[in-house]
């Protein structure tokens, strides 16, 4: 936080990739930032929110990514510099606007920070967003380290302003979420005022605009030819060159060093991956006979480069290309040094330099100490109770009802944490969208009840049109909104129901139930911790037809537990009768909250007080009433 504000040009500080992007925006004099939270992009906007007052930046958490992008574009059209940050799925939400704002053009610098999540560590998909740049004819920058994350962001604003186009900056989880050295630049004096006086209409002159867009892209290519973010390292007349970009740069350097090939293999590092700096690349490939292309996920650079090589066949001759297509690099999943070293070694006929001979053995030994763990809800998480209630109601109903899932913490309800209740998961809003369709299949003999679960933030983000659709088409769907009071999965950013803005200041709220009422659907609001009542009401609602909404409202316990002292629970082991109970260890085995453990010595249940947040739900479920509040009379 302090480092973001430091006005000490030339000072080197440790920064997270997302912070470096934020700092780059600050050094470019960013005025406006609108985003929707999403891993790994969230910290860019959070960083800017922390210094919003200091640098007079307007920062908002928008309802969804396309709204964020449009809002940021408005600032650009008024002559300001604007940043919009999102994860890969957000780009898809923005796609419609992206494919028109490219034609209509922009004014002040507008940067879209697109943060991909290779290996889908915190995502519902693995996606390489770089294709959007080619698709939308927009310039694409790929920072390869923390310094570049900052410097490229600053430059992206200039570039955008010069071209009159949004500029896409692509990061990946490993860059966004790790830390490295960044040399700070100067903090600018901000002088811009907002004024709108142009015409930005896409459509009427779409073809002419498309022609102009291609010209702008050519202009970008010319700028890229001399960009300092494209460079070559290695021997002067290397026959073998690794062409790389983004996170591949550091892995490639490590791989070359690990195999001791510094004198034989060169590395051509490209920072501007669309459009390609063709002359720069041709110049560096003139004496080369083999290239290995190292990039993360799709063969984006690889395919574009192959087109260039084909076009330049006369000049460059025949070059052997290794990469994803040749099978030397996996085209899915996160890259790492091992993968790149293996690729390079196999081409060069080398054995990868062995680690300590016993490394693998030791690693296996160490693994044995790590207990196997399934993804689970936090202790005190309201979703556990909600999903138990849903499971119970569906089982009582007995018509093979099922749950269509959505994106949020509750997505892990597809696994044991949520008793395997979620049967579909796609993109945000898809749960209610799918349920809409299932709810109209009765004429084809379909009589299974459908519950669409949806988080509160997801409701505002993407679910409302589908709910309206369910209403007007009278679809048989029960929507259960799991309202935990914020965008919990990404770190509890506020949403339209939270009552505060990105800076934590009070803001008006838009109530979920009011929206539902306005749409004209029956809506009930209940506390999932009152499990019996929740089950009964869900069961009753399942018996009805048409669209219905149940809001299970209970604040995320991670937040609740921080804000106020929680009650301490314990198992009265004189009441718990262990395996004689007949409950078959319901609390620790089936309800499965990590706060409840099995006391091997006593052969009874026990609360892990280090982990328990004191929500008390288990106490209502124990058949012996053995789980008690400390200090309370039994």
């Amino acid at each position: 936080m302090v480092t973001l504000e430091l006005n000490q040009p030339g000072k080197t500080v440790l920064m997270m990739g997302d912070e470096a992007i934020a700092r780059g925006a600050i050094e470019a004099g960013v005025d406006f930032c609108a985003s929707y939270p999403g891993t790994p992009a969230t910290e860019i906007t959070e960083s800017l929110a922390r210094v919003a007052d200091r640098f007079n930046i307007y920062v908002e958490w928008s309802t969804n990514e396309i709204v964020a992008f449009e809002a940021a574009t408005a600032a650009s059209l008024a002559g300001l510099r604007a940043l919009v940050a999102m994860k890969q799925n957000g780009i898809n939400v923005c796609a419609d606007f992206l494919m028109t704002v490219n034609l209509a053009g922009t004014n002040g610098g507008l940067v879209l920070a697109a943060c991909d999540d290779p290996s889908a560590i915190s995502s519902s998909n693995e996606q390489d967003s770089r294709s959007y740049a080619r698709y939308a004819d927009l310039p694409l920058l790929e920072p390869a380290d923390f310094q570049e994350a900052k410097d490229m962001t600053s430059w992206a604003f200039e570039l955008s302003e010069k071209l009159g186009l949004p500029c896409i900056l692509r990061s990946v989880t490993r860059l966004s979420h790790s830390r490295g050295n960044v040399e700070l630049g100067e903090l600018p004096e901000k002088k811009r005022t907002a004024k709108f006086d142009g015409i930005y209409i896409s459509g009427a002159f779409a073809v002419a605009q498309h022609v102009a867009l291609h010209q702008k892209l050519e202009q970008a290519r010319e700028d890229f030819e001399s960009s300092r973010f494209n460079f070559y390292v290695g021997p002067k007349k290397a026959k073998f060159v690794i062409v790389t970009c983004g996170s591949g740069w550091l892995y490639s350097r490590e791989a070359v060093a690990a195999l001791g090939l510094e004198n034989k293999v060169g590395i051509l590092k490209i920072g501007t991956t669309w459009p390609l700096p063709e002359k720069f690349i041709i110049d560096h490939l003139k004496n080369v006979t083999e290239i290995l292309i190292i990039e993360e996920v799709d063969p984006f650079l690889e395919q574009n480069l192959k087109i260039l090589l084909a076009e330049q066949a006369k000049t460059l001759g025949s070059i052997e290309v290794y990469g994803a297509k040749s099978g030397h690099r996996p085209a899915c999943g996160e890259l790492n040094q091992d993968k790149v070293t293996t690729a390079l070694a196999s081409i060069k006929g080398l054995q990868p330099k062995a680690r300590d001979g016993k490394y693998v053995e030791k690693a296996k030994e160490a693994l044995a100490y790590i207990p196997p763990r399934m993804p689970t809800f936090c202790t005190g998480c309201p979703h556990r109770a909600s999903l138990w209630a849903i499971k119970s109601a569906l089982k009582l109903d007995g018509r093979d009802g099922f749950v269509t899932g959505d994106i949020g913490c509750y997505s892990i309800g597809a696994g044991p944490a949520g008793y395997f209740q979620l049967k579909t998961i796609h993109c945000m809003g898809a749960g209610i969208g799918l349920a809409n369709g299932f709810g109209k299949l009765d004429r084809f003999g379909f009589n299974q009840p459908v519950i669409a679960v949806c988080g509160d933030s997801t409701f505002y983000h993407a679910a409302i049109p589908a709910l309206i659709n369910a209403r007007v088409n009278n679809s048989n769907v029960l929507m259960v909104i799991l309202d935990n009071g914020g965008t919990a999965m990404t770190g509890f950013q506020p949403h339209p129901g939270s009552g505060c803005d990105a800076l934590g200041l009070p803001a008006p709220t838009v109530e979920i139930e009011n929206i539902c009422k306005a749409i004209g659907v029956e809506v009930r609001v209940r506390d999932p911790f009152e499990i019996s009542q929740a089950v009964q009401e869900l069961y009753d609602m399942l018996q009805e037809n048409g669209p219905r909404v149940m809001v299970f409202r209970r604040r995320c316990f991670r937040i609740e537990a921080k804000e106020k002292l929680q009650e301490k629970y314990y198992v009265d082991q004189s009441k718990c009768i262990g395996d004689d109970c007949g409950c078959a260890r319901f609390c620790s085995r089936v309800f499965n909250c990590p706060g409840i453990i099995w006391d091997q010595e006593a052969q009874k249940a026990k609360i892990d007080e280090m982990v328990c947040t004191g929500c008390g739900v288990c106490a209502t479920l124990c058949p012996r009433g053995a789980i008690m509040v400390r200090g309370a009379a039994s």
């Binding site: 119970s392 009582l396 409950c583 089936v590």
Partner: protein, 367 residues
Amino acid sequence: MQAGKSSSDLEQEVFSQDLCTSCGACVNICPYIKVVRDKVAVIEPCGLTEGKCYDFCPRTLTDIAALDKSVFGKTRTDYSLGPYISIEMAQAKDSEIRCRAQYGGVVSALMKYALDTGQISNAVLTRPFDAAMMPASVLVDESNQMAECTGSNYISSATLAKLNEAAKQGKDSIGLVGIPCQVIALRKMQSSKHETGAKGVKLVIGLFCTWALSYKGFSEFLKGKVDLSKVKRIDIPPPPANIMVVETTTGDVRFSLDEVRKFIKPTCSVCYDMTSEFADISVGMVEGIEDWNTLIVRTPAGKKFIDKAKKAGVLNTKSLEQTRLEHLKEASSIKKKRAVDAIQKRTNDKKNLLYLRLSAQEKKKFL
């Protein structure tokens, strides 16, 4: 009773065969089986190979002779009405009780008397119209809490789930009013080797029952016709009327019984017991007489209690005419025959009577 069967067997043999009576015997004894309205389900298999739930169920193996022995100490000689000491007509002396009750008010009067005199400390009763027409089982410990627990209802509530809950709270000396399937389950609980709250039940008043309606089907049927929240009382006047009268705050609505019969729980068709044969005392209507009940005293404990109640002036009694008694026996026998037929139809096997185990003599009479 049969041992070695689990909740999964219960699910397979009873729930999925539409044989659950919603008596509630299997509910509130573990975290896995739940009831909502009159629907009972195993939410998650508990993984145990043997369960009380299975043993207690009135639709798992029920050996009539064995139950006779455990409740009465001897087997029956009357195959129509089961063991009994006396049968007569009775009504509550208190006209106020009679006025609120459907027939003679005997059940209300006896429970009030039992609570007031401390012969029981708690009573598990049914409030016929708790919410949206669904009855609710309630636990009371004073007779002034009984006000709404009067009158007939035609949907069964999970009375024994309430009993199990009461037992968990440590209640004993309990009086219970139940329909035949609930009384059978209660007796199975009492004769089980397991620890159960049913052992604290001191007085069992069984009601006559010919069938119960499924909440879902019947409420959906009524929903289009009356506002469920306004239903005050449901009555089936004695034959030959063949109608159901739904009294609401805005007036009465009548339906042909034929329309309503569609919603009878499938499990009622295999029920072998019309007069709550295993209760201490059984109470029902007297066909053709509105203000009186039939009162069957079955156990010595029941007799002792009724004698005291009579002495205390709680009841008016008079003898039940022979023709009426014959009529009652015939009605009960018809139900038994129909049940056996329905079971045989289900199993498609003359010898396979599902849950029912009959003595050779009984088989001779009803097969």
